[in-house]
Symmetry: none
Subunit: 237 residues, 2 copies
C-alpha cells in the first residue's frame, strides 16, 4: 500500500474530522493534514474512538502547498462528475480503478478531500495529478466526508503486487519542463500553452509511467525541442 496522507480542505464539522480519523485507523492510514479546519475538540475525539492518536499527530496548515509537501502524487476527490471532455481535470477514475492503478506504489500519495458543501475549488483540482470519484446515486451523490474517505481507503487497503519502479518526482518535473520547452519551441499558441501543459501532466498522471518510460519519453521530447531550437540558430538570416 502506498504511503498515504489524507488531506482535508477546510472541514467544517469536527465530528467529520473525528470520523475520518477513526476510519483511517481502520485501514492503517495514519497521516492526517487539515487545511484551515474548524476547531477540533471533544466531539472529534469522541467520534475518532481508537483513531484518536491520529488527531494527536495531525498537522494543521494554511495552504494546499504546505499540505502537499513531499508528496509524489496528488489525488483529488470529487462527488460530481461533469461531462465536458475538454475539462480534463474533471475526468475522474473510479475509486476501484484508482486503487488498482496505485497497487504496490510505495511513494507518498496525498488524497485530497474537499469541503463538506462545495468540495474542491478549480485551482485546487488543478493541483491534482488524478481525480477520483465514488460512483453513487444520481439523485443524491454527495457522500458524507468520512464515508468518502472510508470508501477510498477501503479500496486501497491490502494490495500487494509490485509494479516496476515508478519515476521519481524530479524526473517527472523534468519531463514536464521538457514538454513546456517543446511547446515553446514549436511556438505553441500562448493562450493555450498553460492548459495543454496541464493536460499533459494529468494524462501522464493517469498513466503512472515507470522510470524507464518517463526517461525514454523525456529523451524524445528533449531531443525534439533541442532539434527545433538548434535549427533556429542555424536558420539563414
Amino acid at each position: 500500500m502506498p504511503d498515504v496522507r489524507v488531506v482535508l480542505v477546510e472541514p467544517k464539522f469536527e465530528g467529520n474530522v473525528g470520523a475520518v480519523a477513526r476510519v483511517m485507523a481502520n485501514f492503517d492510514v495514519h497521516e492526517l493534514c487539515l487545511i484551515r479546519p474548524c476547531e477540533v475538540g471533544d466531539i472529534a475525539y469522541h467520534r475518532a474512538k481508537h483513531g484518536a492518536f491520529i488527531l494527536d499527530d495531525m498537522r494543521v496548515v494554511e495552504s494546499l502547498d504546505d499540505a502537499l509537501s513531499n508528496c509524489f502524487f496528488v489525488v483529488g476527490t470529487s462527488g460530481v462528475v461533469t461531462k465536458g471532455d475538454k475539462n480534463y481535470v474533471r475526468i475522474p477514475v473510479s475509486a476501484h480503478s484508482f486503487a488498482k492503478r496505485l497497487k504496490g506504489y510505495t511513494e507518498k500519495v496525498a488524497i485530497v478531500f474537499g469541503r463538506e458543501d462545495i468540495g474542491l475549488l478549480q485551482d485546487e483540482l488543478a493541483r491534482c495529478d488524478m481525480l477520483v470519484h465514488i460512483p453513487s446515486s444520481e439523485k443524491y451523490p454527495v457522500l458524507n466526508l468520512s464515508h468518502a474517505v472510508g470508501v477510498i481507503l477501503y479500496e486501497m487497503f491490502g494490495f500487494e503486487i509490485k509494479p516496476p519502479t515508478p519515476a521519481d518526482n524530479e524526473e517527472k518535473e523534468r519531463l514536464f519542463s521538457f514538454f513546456d520547452n517543446l511547446l515553446e519551441a514549436i511556438s505553441y499558441p500562448e493562450v493555450r500553452k498553460k492548459s495543454t501543459s496541464s493536460m499533459f501532466r494529468k494524462m501522464m498522471g493517469r498513466a503512472i509511467p515507470t522510470k524507464y518510460e518517463y526517461n525514454t519519453i523525456m529523451g524524445v521530447i528533449g531531443d525534439a525541442a533541442k532539434a527545433i531550437e538548434g535549427q533556429k540558430f542555424n536558420r539563414p538570416k
Copy 2:
C-alpha cells in the same frame, strides 16, 4: 442490483442510524429495518440529510424473524473474523466477492448489521446464509456502523463510471504515426526506434486519453516533427 433491505440489530446511537440512512440514499438503497433500536429523533434526522425519507419509511420490529420477512437471502456482517473451526459461520467472504456473487440477483436480500459494541450474536449469525467481512486493520478492525454499511453498499452499487468519449482507433493510429515521424525527425537511434514506439503506444494505452487529449497531443507532436523537418530543408547547404 438486488433488492436490498438493510437491517440494524439494536443500534445504540441515533447518529449512526441517521448516517446509515444517508449512505443508503447515496447508493440508492431505501429499505431500512431496525430491531429494538435506540430512539430515532432529531440527531438521526440531522445526520441523514437528504436520506431523511428513509427514516420516515423505516420499519421498527421486535425480532430478527420479523426483520427478515420475505427475504430470500440473508447476509450477516462481521468486523471480526474468528478463527475457530467450530464456528459454523466461520468462513466469511470479502465485501468485494460478496458483491460480485450477488450481481444479477433480483430477489430480496437482507444485510444484517450488528450492535456497535458486540456485533451479531451467535444465534443471529446462525440465521444468515452468508457472512461478509470488510478487510481492515488488524489493530483496529471495528468500523463505525455507518462506514460498514457504506462499504458494503458501495461494493454492491458497482463501480462503472461513464468515461468521456475516448479517441477512436483512427485518431490513435494517427497519433502513433506522428510519434514515429517525430522519432524520425530527431534521428532517433534506429536500434531503439521500434521499442520506443511500442512503449509510447502502451503508455498511452494505460492513460486511456480522451478524443480531446489525443488530438491535443497529436497537434504538439505533429507540429514538432514538422518544425524539425521544415527547418532541415531551410538549413544552409
